[in-house]
C-alpha cells in the first residue's frame, strides 16, 4: 500500500479536470495503486457534483432533448484507440502505459529511447529535451546512486517498480514523491530490483555541482 500520496490540491485538480495531461497520467497511475486516494477523488467529485447543482441556469431548449430521444440508438465508435499491450503494461498501470504509448508510439519498455543519465541509470524523455526534460521515465539498476541534484521547480515522481531512498524517506511501488523546488537530494536505489519511475517536472532538474564534484575528486578534496 502506497505511503506517499499526491497533495490534496492535486487530487482536487485531478477531480475537477484541471491538471495537465502528464500529471493526470501520473495521478491516475497512483490511484491504480492507492484505494485511499481513490476515495478522496470520489469525495472531490461529489463536492463538484453538489456545486454543479447550485449553478444558476437559464431554461433548457426543447429541441435539444427531442434530438436525443429521437436519435437512432446506434452510436459512432469512440475515436480513441486502445494501445497494444506490450511490456510497458507490465511495469505501468494502464493510464500511464497509454500515455507513454501516445507520446512515443511504443508499447514496450525496450523500444523507448533510453539515454545514459548516470552509472546504472537510464532515462527516456517523453516530453522536453536533454536540457529540459519535463516528463520522463527513469530506469535504475539495483544499488544505483543518482547524481546529487536540485530541482528547478516542483517535481513529482511515481515509483513503478523497485524502491529508492533519500533523506526524506523510502519510496516504493505506488509512492509519489513531491519534491519541492528547493529539495536537493541523491536517491539510492535498493538492492533487490530494477527501479522504474515516472517523473513530471515543470522545469529541468539541473544536475547541481556535477562538475564541481568531479573536480573535487580529481584534486582529492
Amino acid at each position: 500500500m502506497a505511503q506517499y500520496h499526491p497533495s490534496e490540491d492535486l487530487l482536487a485538480g485531478y477531480a475537477s479536470g484541471a491538471v495537465d495531461e502528464q500529471t493526470e497520467a501520473l495521478i491516475a497511475a497512483h490511484l491504480t495503486f492507492c484505494p485511499a486516494c481513490r476515495r478522496m477523488v470520489t469525495e472531490h467529485e461529489a463536492i463538484a457534483g453538489a456545486l454543479l447543482e447550485r449553478e444558476s441556469a437559464p431554461s433548457a431548449s426543447v429541441a435539444g432533448v427531442a434530438a436525443i430521444l429521437n436519435a437512432s440508438p446506434s452510436r459512432a465508435p469512440s475515436t480513441f484507440n486502445e494501445p497494444p499491450l506490450g511490456t510497458l503494461s507490465k511495469i505501468a498501470p494502464q493510464p500511464l502505459a497509454r500515455y507513454v504509448y501516445e507520446k512515443t508510439g511504443e508499447a514496450d519498455t525496450e523500444g523507448l529511447n533510453w539515454t545514459f543519465y548516470g552509472p546504472g541509470i537510464k532515462r527516456a524523455i517523453l516530453v522536453g529535451d536533454e536540457k529540459g526534460a519535463l516528463v520522463r521515465l527513469i530506469k535504475a539498476e539495483p544499488g544505483a546512486v543518482f547524481p546529487d541534484h536540485g530541482h528547478g521547480s516542483d517535481e513529482l515522481t511515481l515509483v513503478l517498480t523497485g524502491a529508492y531512498r533519500d533523506q526524506t524517506g523510502r519510496y516504493a511501488t505506488g509512492d509519489v514523491q513531491c519534491a519541492p523546488a528547493e529539495l536537493s537530494h541523491q536517491p539510492i536505489v535498493e538492492d533487490d530490483g530494477v527501479c522504474f519511475a515516472f517523473v513530471v517536472s515543470e522545469k529541468p532538474a539541473n544536475p547541481k555541482n556535477i562538475t564541481a564534484k568531479i573536480v573535487q575528486r580529481l584534486i582529492g578534496r
Binding site: E24, A28, T42, G49, R54, E55, L69, Y99
Partner: protein
C-alpha cells in the same frame, strides 16, 4: 453564546425508512431512466442539467457553440449510458459532472482523460469500503449539498472557482484579490466542514 443542541440519535429502522424519502429527486429520475428508459424522467433531467452543464463549461472558457455541443453529448450519454449509473457510488449530479468533465478534458486534450482502469491487473483493490458497508452515495451527497448551502459565501465561492472553474489556488487569489493564504484557509475550513459531514451522513 448559545450551545448547539446535541444531535438526536435516530433508531436504525427509522433511518432506513427515511433513507428512501430523502433520496434526491434527480437520482430517483435517473434510476427511472436506467430501469425503465422513462422518457418523462429524462426530460426532467435534461431541463435541470443541460443548462447547468453548459454554464459549467462556459466558466471553463469553452466558447458557446462548443460548450453547447459538449453539453448535448453529455446529456446523450446520460440517456444512452444510464445503465452504468450506480446510486451506491455516486448521486446523479456527481455522475453527470464526471461525464461532462471527461468530455471537456477529451476535447481540450484531444486525448482520452487518464482514469483508473478497474480491470487493470495492477489495481490494488479497496478492502475498506465494499459496496455493502459504504453509505449510499445519494444520501451522502444530499448531506453535502445542504452543508455547502450553509457555508459562508466567501468559502463556497472559493470551492466554486476551484472545483467548477478548475482554477489553481494562486489563480483564485488573483481573481478575488486576496492573499494566497486566505484562499488556503477558506478552502481548508470549507473542506473540514464538508468532510465531517460526509463521514457522519
Amino acid at each position: 453564546m448559545q450551545l448547539e443542541p446535541e444531535p438526536t440519535v435516530t433508531p436504525i429502522t427509522q433511518r432506513a425508512a427515511n433513507r428512501l424519502h430523502r433520496r434526491d429527486q434527480h437520482s430517483v429520475r435517473l434510476e427511472a431512466v436506467r430501469k425503465d428508459r422513462c422518457e418523462a424522467s429524462f426530460r426532467q433531467l435534461y431541463d435541470y442539467y443541460a443548462p447547468r452543464v453548459a454554464s459549467f463549461l462556459r466558466q471553463k472558457g469553452v466558447e458557446d457553440r462548443i460548450s453547447h455541443e459538449i453539453m448535448q453529448e453529455t446529456m446523450t450519454r446520460v440517456w444512452l449510458k444510464a445503465s452504468q449509473f450506480d446510486a451506491r457510488k455516486a448521486s446523479a449530479s456527481t455522475w453527470v459532472f464526471t461525464i461532462a468533465r471527461n468530455l471537456f478534458v477529451d476535447y481540450v486534450r484531444r486525448r482520452k482523460r487518464a482514469e483508473v482502469d478497474f480491470n487493470d491487473p495492477m489495481l490494488v483493490r479497496d478492502d475498506v469500503a465494499g459496496p455493502d458497508v459504504r453509505l449510499d452515495a445519494t444520501e451522502r451527497d444530499d448531506a453535502l449539498k445542504a452543508a455547502i448551502g450553509k457555508l459562508p459565501p466567501e468559502q463556497s465561492e472559493v470551492l466554486r472557482l476551484i472545483y467548477l472553474h478548475g482554477m489553481k489556488q494562486q489563480a483564485v487569489a488573483e481573481r478575488l484579490s486576496i492573499p494566497l493564504n486566505t484562499v488556503k484557509s477558506r478552502l481548508r475550513l470549507a473542506l473540514e466542514k464538508l468532510r465531517r459531514l460526509m463521514e457522519h451522513a
